[in-house]
């Protein structure tokens, strides 16, 4: 059984440990700054970026408002195209369905395309318990799986590992799961990628069953879409006899044409590319091309809970690009694992409590894992207002039905304090994150003890630069 986030300490404690790990901080900083820079350049070249964001947000809002109708449409179209649709209320049910489908094929080793949802529901462990070995095929996911590690980012899950750590994992573990790493493997990234190519090629050619997620599901046509870089996705989606796609119910877009919005935004936001090297779309099954059997498992697992929250439901617009974590000064200092979930960073700070309910101390600590600087609001391609949701969730923990009660302000300061106690570093991180948005949206009032807090922090306009940046530029207003 591989590692899980089960029993993970609450954010303040996990963050303290993470911040003390200098290697980790160096790795995370290098990675987030690299992607950040590439993203900014490619967003800059689109004069219509804000228009794309408007369309992307509105399309998802439409889907969420009529999700029942859209899902029925998905079911009808996928079935008509030769697929079989299954529904799962929670993680256990989804895992049971996939386990049964794999068992029915008689296979005991399957290949997987990196999927956040299957990480969320712990599918690999559930399959392992049933005697089925599920091998991750994405390079980063392979590094995490072989290293018995936990993911720390939604796009680049092994971003906390450097090349020599990766080399050691490959040399130690590859032979135990198939073709060993080549003799004399160095830590050159090209050589490491080649080792992964050889190790995986054998598995792709053998595999009869593949499991994937999906970036998008088109209701109008029943088409699924997977975006990836390495070709491991294409291998899984094309070479297996049976394909099982496990997809969250919020992944729907209304029409085929709507993909033009998201496919122009996803790679730009996620990796700073115009498009990822490979995008695959398929509708049911096709005679003589690809898997002859296709199953779609639609999973709720808390999404309807999030949907019922009028402020929080916007988190379900998320397309898992990771831009919010790449820009986040808190994430930059703690890395992803401190959030105790496969969804770290700002999206994790809001999505986990929305999906699970803030009923345990770990989940309840997440809305406090933020300085409310608002940089995530600015980069989000689907215009999630993270700071609105964070404040709403804090008020839930302080005032609402949550089983865990925080003395709100105190807990907030403690959580952020763990990463903020080095003044100059913190200032640099916030400045690097770009302009700082309003801490609290105009007109938003929180109940009870937080009322006064919002009053004092409600800002009339979004400042174009942080106070400290302004101070430095103007020498304290003298210029």
């Amino acid at each position: 059984m591989s590692k899980t986030f089960m029993g993970w300490p609450a954010f303040p404690r996990a963050a303290e440990t993470a911040v003390a790990d200098e290697q980790l901080r160096t790795n995370v900083r290098r990675a987030t700054h690299t992607i950040r820079g590439k993203r900014a350049a490619l967003v800059e070249e689109r004069p219509d970026w804000q228009d794309l964001r408007d369309a992307a947000a509105a399309l998802k809002d439409d889907v969420l408002a009529h999700l029942d109708t859209y899902l029925e449409q998905v079911e009808e179209r996928v079935t008509a195209a030769g697929g079989t649709v299954h529904w799962a209320v929670d993680a256990d049910e989804a895992n049971r369905i996939v386990t049964r489908l794999v068992r029915d094929t008689g296979e005991t080793e399957i290949v997987k395309v990196k999927s956040m949802l299957t990480e969320e529901i712990g599918l690999d462990n559930a399959l392992e318990a049933a005697g089925i070995s599920a091998r991750e095929t994405d390079l980063a996911a392979t590094i995490v799986q072989l290293g018995d590690d936990l993911p720390s980012h939604v796009v680049v899950p092994a971003l906390h590992r450097n090349r020599s750590e990766i080399r050691d994992i490959f040399v130690r573990e590859m032979g135990r799961h198939g073709r060993p790493a080549p003799e004399g493997l160095t830590d050159d990234p090209g050589e490491l990628a080649e080792a992964a190519r050889l190790h995986m090629r054998e598995k792709f050619l053998k595999a009869k069953v593949a499991v994937s997620g999906a970036n998008f599901v088109v209701a109008e046509t029943g088409t699924l879409c997977v975006v990836e870089s390495e070709g491991n996705g294409r291998m899984c989606l094309t070479l297996a006899d049976t394909l099982i796609s496990v997809v969250g119910i919020e992944k729907v877009v209304p029409t085929w044409r709507d993909l033009e919005v998201y496919l122009q935004m996803l790679a730009r936001s996620a990796t700073g590319e115009r498009m990822a090297p490979y995008t695959s779309t398929w509708t049911g099954t096709t005679d003589g091309d690809g898997p002859g059997t296709f199953h779609l498992v639609l999973v709720d697992n808390g999404r309807t809970r999030a949907l019922a929250d009028p402020v929080g439901r916007q988190a379900l617009r998320c397309i898992r690009c990771g831009a919010c974590m790449n820009i986040c000064p808190v994430y930059e200092r703690t890395g992803g694992q401190a959030y105790g979930s496969v969804y770290p960073g700002p999206i994790g700070a809001i999505l986990n409590p929305l999906l699970k309910g803030p009923d345990d101390p770990q989940t309840a600590s997440l809305p406090y894992a933020s300085s409310l600087c608002g940089a995530c609001n600015e980069v989000c391609p689907v215009r999630i207002r993270f700071t609105d949701v964070l404040l709403k969730l804090r008020s839930d923990v302080a005032e609402g039905d949550a089983k865990v009660k925080h003395r709100a302000e105190k807990a907030a300061l403690k959580a952020v304090g763990a990463v903020m106690d080095h003044g100059p570093l913190w200032n640099a991180a916030v400045r690097a994150a770009g302009t700082v948005g309003a801490a609290v949206p105009k007109g938003m009032k929180l109940p009870g003890p937080l009322h006064g807090w919002t009053d004092s922090r409600a800002l009339p306009d979004i400042p174009k630069e942080s106070f400290r940046a302004w101070w430095k530029r103007t020498e304290g207003g003298a210029k």
């Binding site: 999700l67 990628a193 090629r201």
Partner: protein, 209 residues
């Protein structure tokens, strides 16, 4: 209640406050590439070449009579190649390597042992340097464009659009589509771009009228 009914009824309860909501989707984003005027085919082709070269693809523009020679040249390093049904035979007639037709379909192991594949495409998108294959004549099923290490793709100039919104109406989502933007790549190790992981490590694009 089965899972389907449970999920659907939870959704209806969760969105009760939104019933009757009609969301207008603003479509003010560009329908063409920012740097290419609508209808400027030559501008779109030039941008496609630029973007493909940035990805490290080998790009060559040729006239129709020069195409067979360009194919032969692209296949220079390959000893064997597979071609799908519908690829004009004279394109590969001048090449003296070992040519396989994917008819009857080759096994995955056979395909993995072949050096190269030659196909056409359905649409090419200049702004993102993307070739879209839809399984039509000259493109074939998906496995042959995936397992060989070199993909030679022939693009007709009238298949080039400047941006994605112009491509969508030309594509049939009922077909399995593969959108290729440069050769297989990863940046999973310290964000350093490494070309060539699981898909073809070399992509050669021949653009003909």
């Amino acid at each position: 209640m089965n899972a389907r009914d449970t999920v659907l009824s939870r959704i209806r309860r969760a969105t009760a406050d939104l019933s009757g909501t009609r969301t207008t989707v603003p479509r003010s984003y560009l329908r063409h590439a920012p740097t290419v005027a609508p209808g400027d085919r030559e501008g779109a082709v030039a941008l496609l070449v630029e973007r493909l070269e940035e990805y490290g693809a080998e790009v060559r523009r040729t006239d129709a009579p020069g195409l067979p020679a360009a194919v032969t040249r692209a296949l220079e390093a390959a000893r064997s190649a597979v071609v799908p049904d519908g690829l004009p035979e004279h394109w590969t007639a001048g090449w003296d390597g070992e040519l396989h037709r994917d008819q009857p379909p080759l096994t995955h192991h056979q395909l993995a042992a072949v050096d190269a594949v030659v196909t056409t495409c359905a649409v090419a998108v200049a702004e993102s340097g993307t070739l879209v294959l839809d399984g039509g004549p000259g493109q074939g099923r998906r496995a042959p464009t995936l397992l060989p290490d070199l993909h030679v793709c022939v693009v007709r100039e009238d298949q080039v659009v400047s941006a994605l919104p112009e491509a969508m109406p030309r594509l049939d989502p009922r077909r399995p589509l593969t959108w290729i933007s440069g050769p297989s790549a990863t940046a999973d190790i310290e964000m350093i771009r490494v070309r060539g992981v699981h898909g073809p490590r070399r992509l050669a694009v021949l653009i003909a009228p």
